[in-house]
Symmetry: C2
Subunit: 130 residues, 2 copies
């Protein structure tokens, strides 16, 4: 059984930061669960283009408010606590935070821990970061 705590993980290498967001990877590929699990904060007033070409991701909003735009269709969905979105088609999307959004994120395949967003908004596939 693995037990981890967000506050402690934020003071470890599990915590990664980008421009306008930060993410704490509580479960990574090395844990052998077959998915990774991250608590990610999208900082207030920021907007991000993400495109996970090599991963499927689901995101559940715990706190905060904003929007997700599906860049294939232009459709905009409101995000607030209780809303989940899943990028089942590796959907290219824009995420915008009106207030700081706290999100519970699951990735398949699991993130290894060394990925950063590339210029195209994706994470590298696992074989490139191993």
């Amino acid at each position: 059984m693995i037990v981890r705590e967000l506050g402690a993980a934020r003071n470890s290498e599990r915590h990664v930061r980008g421009e306008g967001w930060d993410s704490t990877r509580l479960i990574l590929a090395g844990d052998g669960m077959g998915f990774s699990f991250h608590i990610t904060r999208i900082h207030e007033g920021t907007s991000h283009l993400f495109h996970y070409r090599h991963h499927l991701e689901s995101v559940y909003c715990i706190a905060g408010e904003g929007t997700i735009e599906d860049l294939a269709t232009g459709q905009v969905h409101e995000i607030r606590p209780g809303v989940l979105y899943a990028l089942d088609k590796h959907d290219r999307h824009r995420l915008t935070a009106r207030s700081e959004m706290v999100m519970a994120c699951c990735f398949n395949p699991p993130v290894t821990g060394s990925e950063v967003h590339r210029a195209d908004g994706s994470y590298a596939p696992a074989e490139e970061v191993a």
Copy 2:
């Protein structure tokens, strides 16, 4: 892109109830994500023996307080918001809620939606409930 909302899902067949708990399956096997994602409430003052022989599960506490006991070792871990546990060894465990606990749960392989806990505390493997 899939977008779902907890309140609406609680008024659908995605919402399942057991003795002292209920769970809303926002992502199921049929969504093709390779995991399922549930928001589960463990009701105040209840205690449960669970043993997922056929699944790996991670659980992140969003709200509430209680404990998890690892029944292999007798070790008891406090659960409060920000704590995650992962049953990477199909760990048999007892979950006890001092106050209602709201948990974000990921299962691999994904739950199909028709499982219930069996007498041994497990979910049936996917091939038995298909």
